[in-house]
Each structure stands twice: as structure tokens, then as C-alpha cells.
């Protein structure tokens, strides 16, 4: 890190229809610096970065790049000035090769107008080698693990001339090893004089890699601190303000887990196989039990959830619910037999252009609302759920897309709570959510437990698993590697088994 300031944001404010998303925020970035940006959902991180990357062209305040005032009107204009963004949902094109993805808009051409494949492969290889990434550039992107796809995307942005790289939650879908690999690349870039803004909910990751950390709360900047002065404790405290106490405790401690082995079995999975991704797993979930299922990305825990809801079909094995085999089920049949499912991919499971109440009534429409559908009745049911889950803003008639990510997730959970069911499968329910919203979702899950529902909590976040499970299965490479029950368990113990 040199002492040359490459970027300065001054007094940035931005409102959405009267709501201030950002209020006079300052931010600066040095050459060769990795700068963390943290805050709860809705604190303004994404908005600030969308302004910097040219997505939002309307704002108050000033952006100075290398001392010169600039105003980006589009992501392309930001890119021209060397500001590149890596989105949480990667924007690469799956069926195309790694090399094609590297040269998405500027394929090397022969003297005619044809793509020069030879040169493209060669230059692609050189590009990746410069960043110490070793892979076959002829492979289709979609055959690579997510972590590798991300590295390619970073290489593309860097070689398009970016000096400032904005990374939005880059580690949320990565395994420990992949995260390590990403950090290596980030340090490598830093040595080359590139500056990186690192947005993340994972405080450990932020503290592990960043030189300085800027904390936002409710659209205002709380402060920018040197990493040397920081602990996780301090960051969480600053992020949350006064609410922090309980939550901190849940992060620091190890937990005692305890399960009631006498309770009736609701779900029994016997010898479930699917290709080489699930190799014969068996487990049970009992009434009033939260079974935590932990694993790194690709360990098979997410896939297990998808098979239970009939989204994927098992090659072999039985799913037995309340003593009755469900057979090869579709989502509709799974729902009818009493399985509710909160999907890992939040964006895909909701209807952004429909009202909140329609998003809530959709799953059990046929059970809860008689013909003819009456808007009033529907909104009443929705209002009850909105209040119960503390959805903000508490308006059933707003379009879902107007809600922040965490609140959208609450809606995704709410739709299953309007009608009784036997088993709730939660696939990564807290991914990308801030600490406060996580707690609220977990509060609802605990309530369901008290109602004797069986719960399967699938997550790649150890904190979520430890703090909420009665019993824990750890999955690794398609198998159940360890089971924890009736003991004390810490994050370390869990992660070591994955």
C-alpha cells in the first residue's frame, strides 16, 4: 500500500423515493489497498458501490479519481476509468469457454472478421498465468467450480484495465480452500498496485484480508478503521450499534447441542444416491427437532435438500415421511405430502414483479383461500405474516422487488407458515443476510420447533448451524462424515470435519 490516494468519495447522498439510502458518506481508497466495506443489509453498501460503478448516475456529492472529479453515467463509463465490479452473481456465460469469457467483448480477430481462436487461447493462458491461475482455457466455464469461475471473472476485469476492483460478497459461496485461493489472488493484485474494495458479511474474511475497514450503518458512515486496531467484536458492535450484545455472544461462544432421541421420526432418508454427488446417505429428522446439515459448497448438503423437495431425482434410495415412502416426487407432490422448502437461490424462488401478498399466498393458495379469491382476505393473511416476521416496509401491497434482500428472504419463509406442514427444509436460509435479519429468521424457526414441526437446516455457514441446531450432520464429498449430538461444539470442530 502506497500513500497515493487513488479514489475519494465526498459527501455522497442518495435517496430512493424519499428514503435516504446514503447520507453524506465519505470514502477513500489508496493505491494497492484492500479496503473492507461492512454493514447490515440496507446499511447502504451496495448503493455506495453502485454509485461508484456507474449503476446509479443520480446522486449528491463528489467522486474524485486520481484527483480529478468524475461522474460515471454507466458501468461502461466506470470501466473506462478503470473501476470494475465483480458481482455476487457472476456474470460469466456458462456454455462458452474460459478464453471466450476472458475476451467477451473484444475477441482477438484474424485479418478478416473472424475470431482468432489460436491467439485467444494463447493470450488467455498468458492472462491467467500473470495472475498465477492455472487452468485449461478451453474448458466451458460451466464445468468449473464456482471459485474458479470467480477467478476467471476477476482476471477478465483486471485485463480490461481495471485499477479499482469492487467485489460484492465474493466469499459467500466459496469453500475454505477456495476462499484461501481468492485471498492469494487478492494479495497478488495488491502487490501489482491494484486497489480492491471488499464487501462482505463475513467479518472473519474482512479482517483476514483488508488493510482498512469502513463501517456503514443506516446509510451513514460509522467510521474507517485500521485493521490493526480491529477485532470481530468491535466490528460487529459498530455495525449494529446498541443491538449488538446478544448477537456477539452467539458468535464467540461454543454451544451445547441437545436432541430428544425419544421423539417420533418424521423424515427418514435411506441410502440416498445421486451420481457421484450423493453416495448413499441415511439420516432421520424427528418431531420438534432442528437437524443442522453443514458442508462446504458442493459437499452434497444443498443437493440433499433439493432431492427432498423433488427438484432433483435420486438415482436410488428412499425418502420416507411419517412412515410413508414419498416415491419419486415432484415439488407439488412433496408439498402435498407435507414438505415445505425454502430455496437456496432466493432470487429464483420469488416473484420480484408481484406484490408481497401474492408472494406469500402462492405456495398454499389452494389450501388457504377459497374461490373466489378476495384481495382483502389475501392481504389479511399476508399482513399477519409480515407482522410476525417483521418484514420492512410492512406493506403487503408493495412489489417484492422494492424489499431489501434480507426482507425478501423473510417473505420466502413466510409463504410456508400460512398452513401446517410436517417438515421444513431450509436450504441456505441465511446466505447473504445481515446479522439482525438472520436472527429474525432463526426466531421463526425456533417457534416452528416449538410447534413440533421437523426442521432440516442446511447451511454452509458454521455460525448458523451451531447456534440453531439440536443435532448436526457434517457432509463432505457426498457423504455424512460426522454426526454431533448431545455435546458441546464450536465452529472449529465443525469446520474441521467438512
Amino acid at each position: 500500500m502506497t500513500n497515493a490516494k487513488i479514489l475519494e468519495l465526498k459527501n455522497i447522498s442518495k435517496s430512493f423515493g424519499g428514503v435516504k439510502a446514503l447520507n453524506t458518506v465519505d470514502f477513500d481508497l489508496f493505491e494497492g489497498e484492500i479496503h473492507g466495506l461492512v454493514g447490515e443489509n440496507g446499511a447502504g453498501k451496495s448503493t455506495l458501490m453502485k454509485i461508484l460503478s456507474g449503476v446509479h448516475a443520480n446522486y449528491d456529492g463528489e467522486i474524485k479519481l486520481r484527483g480529478k472529479t468524475v461522474r460515471f453515467t454507466s458501468p461502461a463509463s466506470a470501466m473506462e476509468h478503470g473501476v470494475g465490479m465483480i458481482y455476487q452473481e457472476l456474470s460469466c456465460i456458462g456454455p462458452l469457454t474460459v478464453a471466450e469469457n476472458l475476451f467477451l467483448t473484444n475477441h482477438p480477430r484474424t485479418r478478416g472478421r473472424f475470431v482468432n481462436w489460436k491467439e485467444m487461447y494463447q493470450r488467455g493462458r498468458t492472462y491467467l498465468k500473470q495472475l498465477d491461475i492455472d487452468m485449461d482455457v478451453r474448458l466451458p466455464m460451466e464445468t468449473l467450480a464456482l471459485g474458479l469461475q470467480q477467478l476467471v471473472e476477476i482476471a477478465r476485469v483486471i485485463h480490461s484495465g481495471a485499477d479499482i476492483l469492487i467485489m460484492d460478497e465474493p466469499t459467500s459461496a466459496l469453500s475454505l480452500g477456495e476462499t484461501k485461493r481468492l485471498f492469494e489472488l487478492m494479495r497478488n493484485l495488491k502487490e501489482k498496485g491494484k486497489s480492491i474494495i471488499f464487501i462482505s458479511h463475513f467479518i472473519d474474511d474482512v479482517l483476514g484480508i483488508c488493510d482498512r475497514v469502513t463501517i456503514l450503518r443506516d446509510g451513514r458512515k460509522v467510521g474507517t478503521l485500521d485493521n490493526a486496531d480491529l477485532s470481530k467484536h468491535v466490528v460487529i458492535h459498530q455495525m449494529l450499534g446498541d443491538e449488538a450484545k446478544d448477537i456477539e455472544e452467539s458468535y464467540e461462544k461454543d454451544f451445547a447441542i441437545h436432541s430428544d432421541e425419544e421423539a417420533d421420526i418424521v423424515l427418514e432418508v435411506k441410502n440416498a444416491r445421486k451420481g457421484n454427488r450423493l453416495s448413499g446417505i441415511s439420516f432421520v429428522v424427528r418431531e420438534g427437532e432442528i437437524l443442522g446439515m453443514y458442508g462446504a459448497i458442493g459437499a452434497g448438503h444443498t443437493l440433499t435438500g433439493e432431492c427432498l423437495f423433488g427438484l432433483e431425482r435420486l438415482d436410488e434410495g428412499d425418502i420416507v415421511l411419517d412412515g410413508k415412502p414419498t416415491g419419486s416426487i415432484s415439488p407439488t407432490k412433496a408439498k402435498m405430502s407435507g414438505i415445505a422448502y425454502v430455496a437456496a437461490d432466493r432470487a429464483a424462488s420469488l416473484f420480484p414483479e408481484s406484490e408481497v401478498y401474492k408472494n406469500i399466498s402462492v405456495a398454499f393458495l389452494r389450501q388457504i383461500l377459497p374461490f373466489p379469491l378476495r384481495k382483502k382476505e389475501e392481504i389479511k393473511i399476508s399482513d399477519g405474516m409480515v407482522a410476525k416476521l417483521n418484514v420492512k416496509p410492512p406493506a403487503s401491497s408493495t412489489m417484492l422487488q422494492n424489499l431489501s434482500g434480507g426482507n425478501q428472504q423473510k417473505v420466502a419463509v413466510a409463504r410456508w407458515l400460512v398452513h401446517p406442514f410436517r417438515l421444513l427444509v431450509l436450504n441456505e436460509p441465511t446466505r447473504g443476510m445481515d446479522v439482525g435479519a438472520k436472527e429474525e429468521v432463526m426466531r421463526i424457526i425456533k417457534e416452528l420447533k416449538a410447534q413440533r414441526v421437523a426442521l432440516l437446516l442446511i447451511s454452509s455457514e458454521p455460525e448458523t448451524i451451531i447456534a440453531n441446531s439440536d443435532r448436526i450432520l457434517v457432509m463432505c464429498k457426498g457423504k455424512i462424515s460426522t454426526e454431533f449430538s448431545n455435546q458441546r461444539i464450536s465452529k472449529d470442530m465443525l469446520m474441521r470435519c467438512a
Partner: protein, 344 residues
């Protein structure tokens, strides 16, 4: 200001309709007359029956290209069966001899519509290709049935529906004849019934809601446990039936059934539904939109007959106006706040 603009966006189809209506009323003396207004209603009625099913299909983000030939097939099937029954079973009660062919046409088109649905939802063929194949199949069936000869013997009940009228505000004049102040074409009443049923199903039944949700996001619908394949199949089946029924009604209106002669119904029907603001990408629109679209389409086609233009230019001009109206609709629908995302 933005919310006003958005409302205007939703109103674009209505604005288009009134603009065209006003335009033709001003430049032609014969356009805005009671007789011509009912004429327009009559002209779009068969299209309206067909459009009800097309609305379902577009709402769940599919397309049906077989509607026109489905209607033709259905018409010739009913007419040929009627002719057969009259010849082979002369003693059959007139009621049965008329109803059986109609019912047979409905059942046949329901089956073919379901086949469209099966191919699309279960076999995974794009509906564009599946219904294109069905277009050829139904056209072929119609040709096979007719062997190129038209049927002129149409069940009288269809003639009554197709070209009859119901008089209201009737009174007896001096000579003792009953005269009606307004004569509503029966076919228009039938069309209104279909539109009303379609409206209720889409707005007030759970099936209708699921159609919208499937069109809004197929993946999300699946994740909510909606039977997506079932919904898509059902919509294509409904579309087959409404196309078939509109074909049956049409032979009554035209007085003959032949393997052709309904040119433009496919283009007309889909453009009418889209003109009303129902999205080709699913999830948005509905029967009220379809009604506006049908009226716009009707005014455009009828209106051009009331202005003096080269008859050989008529299609070209209606194409241009249609294109303009569609562009306007799309442009208006796009008026949204660009910053409608919430901070996060």
C-alpha cells in the same frame, strides 16, 4: 410524477384505442355510425372467443400458432359430421344431429390442445415448434376431411349464433311489425360470455392466479410447489378449445365450412391480445387488456375500409399502424423508475 407516468404506461393500450377511434371518426363520415359500431363488434366476436384462450397461453409465457388451423379444422369437422349424420341417420332428432357435431369438434380440439400442452410441458418442446407442427397437422386434417370441397349445409343453430341478432328496446310500429331499436349480434353476446368466464377464471380462481405466477417466473413457481407442467398443459388445452369453438361459430357466420378462408386470424388474434398490453413474456395482462386489444384491432381493420386508400395498400398500412401501436405500448410499459431498487 413518476407514478403518473407509470399509470400512463399501463393506459397505453387505451390511449392507442381512443386515438385510432377518434382518427377514423374524424376523417370518415361512415365510420362512427351505430350500424358500423355493431358491425365492428360482429367482426371481432369470433376473434374474441379465440383470444380468450390465447390470453391464457401468453400469460404463462407460451405461444400457440395452431389456433387458426385449429378453428378451421373444428369448423369442417362439425360441418362434415352434421352432413354425415343427416345422410346416414335421417331419423335422428334435429337437436341431436346439431349438438353431436359441435360436441365432437370441442372434444377433438380439446384433445389436440392437450397434445400441444403435452408436447410443450412434458416432452419439453418449445411451444413455438410444437404448435407449428400442430398447425400443419390441423391443416392436414381439415384438407383430408373436406377433400377440397366446401360444406354449405351448416347446423341451423350455428347459423343463428353466427349471424343472428337479438333486438332490444323492441316496439311495434304502425304497420304492426316488431322493430328493435338496437340489434345485438348473437355472436357478440357469445363472445362476451367467453370473455366474462375467462375474466373470472383468471382473476378469481386459484388456477388463474397460478397461471400468472407460472408466467411471472417459472422457476419460482416450481419452488413454490405449483404444478407448472399441469398449468402450461391446461392453458394450451383451453386455447385449443376456444380456437375450436370460435371455428364452429365462424362456420355459422360464414355459411360454409372449408379448409381455409380464415386468413389473418392467427396474426389478428395474437396481435390483438398483445395490443391490449398482455406480455409475450408472461405474467402480465389479462382479459380486460384483451378486450381493449380486440377493440383496437377491430377499429383498425374496419376503419381502413372507411377511408379512401388503394385497396392494395390496405394490408401494408394496417401493418404499419399495428407496428406503431405495438412500439408505443412497449415504450410506455418501459416507463419505470430506473432507481426502483432499494438500498442494500
Amino acid at each position: 410524477m413518476r407514478s403518473v407516468l407509470r399509470k400512463v404506461g399501463a393506459l397505453a393500450p387505451v390511449i392507442t384505442f381512443f386515438t385510432l377511434f377518434l382518427f377514423f371518426s374524424l376523417i370518415s363520415d361512415t365510420f362512427f355510425t351505430p350500424a358500423n359500431i355493431f358491425n365492428i363488434f360482429e367482426q371481432i366476436s369470433a376473434l374474441a372467443i379465440m383470444a380468450v384462450g390465447v390470453t391464457f397461453v401468453l400469460l404463462c409465457a407460451e405461444i400457440d400458432l395452431s389456433i387458426e388451423n385449429m378453428a378451421i379444422f373444428s369448423g369442417v369437422l362439425a360441418a362434415s359430421l352434421y352432413a354425415y349424420l343427416k345422410a346416414a341417420h335421417p331419423g335422428m332428432p334435429a337437436f341431436l344431429a346439431q349438438c353431436v357435431p359441435i360436441l365432437a369438434a370441442v372434444v377433438a380440439t380439446a384433445a389436440l390442445g392437450y397434445a400441444n400442452g403435452f408436447g410443450t410441458a412434458r416432452l419439453g418442446l418449445p411451444s413455438f415448434m410444437m404448435t407449428l407442427a400442430m398447425l400443419l397437422i390441423t391443416r392436414g386434417l381439415a384438407l383430408f376431411i373436406t377433400k377440397g370441397r366446401p360444406f354449405f349445409d351448416i347446423p341451423p343453430v350455428l347459423t343463428k349464433i353466427g349471424s343472428g341478432a337479438v333486438g332490444i328496446f323492441s316496439h311495434t310500429d304502425e304497420s304492426g311489425a316488431v322493430r328493435a331499436l338496437i340489434e345485438i349480434p348473437v355472436i357478440t353476446i357469445v363472445a362476451l360470455v367467453f370473455l366474462a368466464v375467462g375474466f373470472v377464471v383468471l382473476k378469481y380462481t386459484r388456477f388463474g392466479r397460478e397461471v400468472y405466477m407460472v408466467g411471472g417466473s417459472r422457476k419460482a413457481a416450481e419452488l413454490a410447489g405449483i404444478n407448472v407442467k399441469g398449468i402450461v398443459s391446461a392453458c394450451l388445452c383451453i386455447c385449443g378449445v376456444t380456437a375450436g369453438l370460435s371455428g364452429v361459430v365462424l362456420i355459422g357466420r360464414l355459411g360454409s365450412a372449408q379448409a381455409g378462408g380464415l386468413e389473418d386470424m392467427l396474426i389478428g388474434c395474437i396481435s390483438a391480445v398483445v395490443l391490449g398490453g398482455t406480455s409475450l413474456f408472461g405474467g402480465k395482462g389479462g382479459i380486460p387488456n384483451t378486450i381493449i386489444g380486440l377493440l383496437t384491432f377491430g377499429v383498425l381493420y374496419n376503419g381502413l375500409n372507411h377511408v379512401e386508400i388503394d385497396i392494395y395498400l390496405k394490408q401494408f398500412i394496417s401493418g404499419i399502424i399495428l407496428l406503431g401501436a405495438l412500439v408505443l405500448n412497449v415504450a410506455m410499459a418501459r416507463i419505470k423508475t430506473p432507481d426502483n431498487a432499494v438500498a442494500g
